[in-house]
């Protein structure tokens, strides 16, 4: 066990470069496709 262990106040999740555009594309495609499905079936 490390002696210098300290408790964080906040555990942030740093972005990995390149993933943000992928995420936005994926959620846009998902929302549109889900919208199409519900438009046709509900």
């Amino acid at each position: 066990m490390h002696e210098d262990h300290e408790e964080l106040m906040e555990l942030k999740h740093d972005p990995v470069p390149g993933y943000r555009p992928i995420f936005f594309v994926a959620i846009t495609v998902g929302l549109v496709y889900l919208g199409v499905i519900f438009f046709n079936t509900l």
Partner: protein
């Protein structure tokens, strides 16, 4: 043919022995009690036994039917597993309370009448609180008191309902009730408090994370599940339960996402899972009730397993916040694997136990063409994977390296977790054994169809994709050490406000009364009474005195001398007679 005891008796009587035993003997007895209870249970005849006459009514201590038996089996099983897990605890209060708590839960599910039911129901609260207080922190003391208040209030509502109900029907038999009149609504609400319905759920997310490491395992198994049993017994097919259950399944996952204390995350997901059961009971078809009961059975195991793995982490590191731990897979690999099994089971991965029971409730909602309920339940299924299935193992065992290198969990904890993990996989892979215990036979449900498996895997893997992408793109909310307000704000802050208001209102009133009545008025009356004779006398005598001694008299000295005479009790007889006569005249006129 009564050769066996009531189902609760082995635990209740055995627990009374424990304080007199020490060390290995006590541990052996604690391990033997669930086994004895099981042997006792399978020897009890189907139907009512242990019926006692009480005030002209019949008490039933052992109503054995398919519904009560399946709950009885799982309660005894989790009692055994938790006892193994808690073998290192030698603390009389915890040991005894754990056994009595298990016994009370058995007492509730096998009670055939309201009286027995209510007694054991209240005992559940009493022993549960002991397991919370046994942590002996300031937070656990507070949470325990709030738990007690909440459940005492719930118990009173239940009691009021029972009294109305018994008065109405004339029978104390506890069976199918349904919503039909004030008594039944109050009972419904009383059961709902133990079932952690939305807005009534705060005792659970407040107290469970504050209990002892081993106590929480007991807690997660009994209180809510006995309520589920009672609802399945008394209110199957009640439509309100469908919506209550859907709300329970839906809202806690939002809180779970932003919660930092991993045991509190599990507490929220416990509410979410109970939501599926409540919803199934509300739907009320045979498939739905079977599904609700099967899910209760499985949930006791996988939620117990998850709480056990988090307990092991707490036992070794003393920490449970996501911000404090992380990367523990390095030195606690077995605990990590067991946690993943529990997470896979609660997320309903094929071949794990949640899959074979949660889908029954989903299927029942689908068969009933309840599309909104179905959407909410599907959302909750994806959400539970997100927060319980991924968040718990990821933040505890992977994520950032906290630098902690604790030892692996002790052998008895590993054994308990191993047994539970094995059962989760066994039930998931061979559901027929669980199905054969369910209340309605034949079950006639087949979870392992190709479209079902593919659909379930799709929803889980793409939920995982969402988690991965959110995390990698830095959008996933940071874990922050904080308090998240919930509906308990109303009584935690509200009570303080109430206390403050009462303090101001009544203490101010008290002060005013003290000043004006106690001191002012009484003092004035006192003074008046003491001085009245002298005053009256001097008023009367003053004119005569002036007449007699006109010119050189000093009226003030007369008043003083009269006052002196009264103080010393040396009043001239004539004066006394005059005053007495005057008093008589006064009385005459007043009359």
């Amino acid at each position: 043919m009564i050769s066996s005891l009531p189902p609760a008796a082995p635990f209740m009587l055995g627990a009374l022995l424990l304080p007199f035993l020490r060390g290995h003997v006590r541990r052996a007895v604690m391990l033997a009690l669930p086994v004895l209870a099981f042997i006792n249970l399978i020897h009890l005849p189907t139907g009512d036994s242990w019926t006692l006459s009480f005030l002209g009514q019949e008490l039933v201590l052992a109503r054995i039917d398919r519904l009560s038996l399946v709950f009885g089996y799982i309660f005894i099983l989790i009692g055994l597993i938790t006892t193994i897990y808690a073998l290192h605890v030698e603390e009389t209060v915890q040991n005894v309370s754990g056994m009595l708590y298990t016994g009370s839960a058995l007492g509730v599910v096998f009670a055939g009448d309201f009286f027995t039911f209510f007694i054991f129901w209240e005992l559940l609260t009493v022993f549960c609180v002991q397991l919370i207080w046994a942590r002996r922190t300031r937070q656990s003391m507070g949470a325990g008191f709030r738990y007690l208040m909440f459940h005492v209030a719930g118990g009173l509502i239940l009691l009021a309902g029972i009294v109305l109900r018994v008065h109405h029907t004339g029978s104390i038999e506890f069976g199918l009730i349904g919503l039909d009149g004030p008594g039944s609504h109050l009972i419904f609400l009383g059961l709902g408090i133990n079932c952690a319905w939305p807005l009534l759920h705060t005792w659970l997310s407040d107290a469970y994370p504050e209990a002892t490491i081993t106590g929480t395992i007991f807690l997660s198994a009994f209180t809510t599940k006995t309520a589920v049993y009672a609802l399945a017994r008394a209110y199957p097919g009640t439509e309100a339960l469908i919506w209550i259950g859907a709300a329970m399944a839906g809202f806690p996952i939002f809180f779970a996402v932003i919660e930092n204390d991993l045991r509190r995350v599990l507490a929220y997901s416990l509410i979410n899972q109970v939501g599926f059961m409540v919803c199934g009971i509300g739907i009320g078809t045979q498939l739905a009730i079977n599904g609700a009961v099967a899910h209760a059975f499985n949930d006791i195991l996988f939620k117990g397993l998850l709480f056990m793995t988090m307990g092991a982490v707490m036992y070794r590191t003393g920490k449970i916040n996501a911000t404090d731990i992380g990367g523990l897979y390095r030195t606690m690999p077995l605990t990590c694997i067991f946690c993943i099994v529990g997470a896979a089971s609660i997320s309903a991965f094929p071949l794990f136990s949640g899959f074979v029971s949660k889908s029954m409730v989903m299927d029942a909602a689908g068969s009933g063409h309840m599309r909104w309920i179905w959407f909410i339940l599907l959302f909750a299924s994806a959400g539970v994977f997100h927060h319980a299935g991924i968040k718990i193992p990821y933040f505890a065992f992977f994520s950032h390296d906290s630098g902690l290198r604790p030892k692996e969990a002790p052998p008895h904890m590993l054994l308990a977790m191993g047994i539970t993990a094995f059962l989760c996989i066994f039930i998931g892979s061979f559901p027929q054994y669980l199905y054969s215990m369910l209340p309605y036979q034949p079950v006639g449900y087949e979870p392992y169809t190709v479209p079902h498996v593919v659909a379930q895997l799709q929803i889980l893997f793409f939920s995982a994709l969402a988690f991965a992408l959110l995390l990698l793109s830095g959008i996933y909310p940071a874990e922050i050490r904080c308090v998240n307000l919930d509906a308990d704000w109303f009584y935690r802050k509200g009570a303080r406000l109430f206390y403050g208001a009462m303090d101001r209102c009544f203490n101010r009133l008290n002060q005013v009364c003290d000043q004006w009545l106690a001191r002012g008025l009484t003092g004035a009356v006192n003074r008046f009474c003491r001085n009245a004779p002298a005053r009256v006398s001097s008023w009367f005598l003053l004119p005569f005195h002036r007449l007699v001694k006109a010119g050189d008299g000093n009226p003030r000295s007369l008043g003083q001398s009269i006052q002196e005479a009264f103080d010393k009790g040396v009043i001239p007889v004539g004066l006394s007679a005059a005053v007495s006569g005057l008093f008589l005249v006064l009385l005459f006129f007043l009359k």
